[in-house]
């Protein structure tokens, strides 16, 4: 039992992201309103993005911008890589955020199309009207 508690406390960031992901997945599956499902989808993607960002963190490290000096001289000094957090996950996640925003935009356009046709956003009502077609 103390071992399990140890596990949870030391890796709390992983547990947090998994809980967020499951919340998003739950919203996508069980909510009836189309917009709530989209919100769930966004939570799901955001949880994965947060997970990625957290893996780049090093203890007592700062943001990856060389502050002392500017221009040519700073670039010629050797820097200690351990002092700066890993920028690669951040960069990858910039791309992932943009992709998730673009997907959200297209999904919203689809929801607007559905609303124009069926005048409702509740999925069970839409199913009923589709059956009546």
């Amino acid at each position: 039992m103390p071992d399990l508690l140890n596990e949870i406390v030391h890796k709390y960031n992983y547990w947090l992201y998994i809980i967020l992901m499951m919340i998003g997945l739950y919203a996508m599956i069980s909510k009836n309103n189309l917009i709530k499902k989209l919100v769930g989808m966004n939570i799901f993607q955001t949880a994965i993005i947060l997970f990625f960002i957290s893996i780049g963190y090093k203890e007592d490290a700062t943001i990856p911008i060389i502050v002392s000096g500017h221009g040519g001289d700073a670039a010629h000094q050797a820097i200690q890589a351990a002092n700066y957090i890993n920028p690669l996950p951040h960069v990858l996640m910039l791309t992932a955020i943009v992709v998730s925003v673009a997907t959200l935009g297209v999904a919203l356009a689809l929801v607007v199309m559905i609303y124009q046709r069926y005048q409702t956003l509740e999925e069970d009502e839409i199913r009923m009207r589709v059956k009546q077609l």
Binding site: P64, I65, L92, L94, V98, V99, A109
Partner: protein, 221 residues
Amino acid sequence: MTAVLADYRGYDTMFETVVIFAAGLACILLLRTYIQRTRGREYRHIPTGIIIHIQDPNKAPKGLREFELIDNIWVPHDLIIKTVCRILIPFIQIFSLYVVMHGDFSPGGGFQGGVIFGASLILLAISFDLRTALQLVSEKTLGMLCALGVVIYSGIGCLCIMLSGNFLDYGTLSQILPVDPNHIRALGMLGVEIGVGITVMAVMVVLYINIASEGRHHQGL
């Protein structure tokens, strides 16, 4: 960090910009309709504030100069909003240009600057009127700007191919620009960030206009 984004993984960033471009185009494809609204329009008499509703979309009130066309969700008392926004929007745009240019040295870059610029145009559309915003930046301008940004990005890459390098190898650009090969990478990155900023700006505004007006471009939020 922009160095990693635009140089080591410049190919990824180009496709990220293409994703944004695709989202904007997809919005236009899905939502844009050219069917005119048939509900009629509302006009407001400026001296007295009376609102009239004309059923026939082809007719206009006599003495049109005293009337202004309003949306059917128009609310009065927006003089403060209009004045403040009119003053603020140019400063927001200058700030966004600053953010684009300073991506190499401080948090910023093409995406962030483009979003801020796009937000300033959306602010114009919200505070004034969708039609006013569309008169200032027409749909055709926005469409061309969307394409222009990504063409700048891939154009720089193709230029590198034509100068006998690999795709997006900024070092080869020093053959045409009189800068030393180390500095040329920073300039190449600046070029692609500008391209990214243009596309992001145009697509933000396109997405807002099409979703808010359900494709009809007659009125917004």
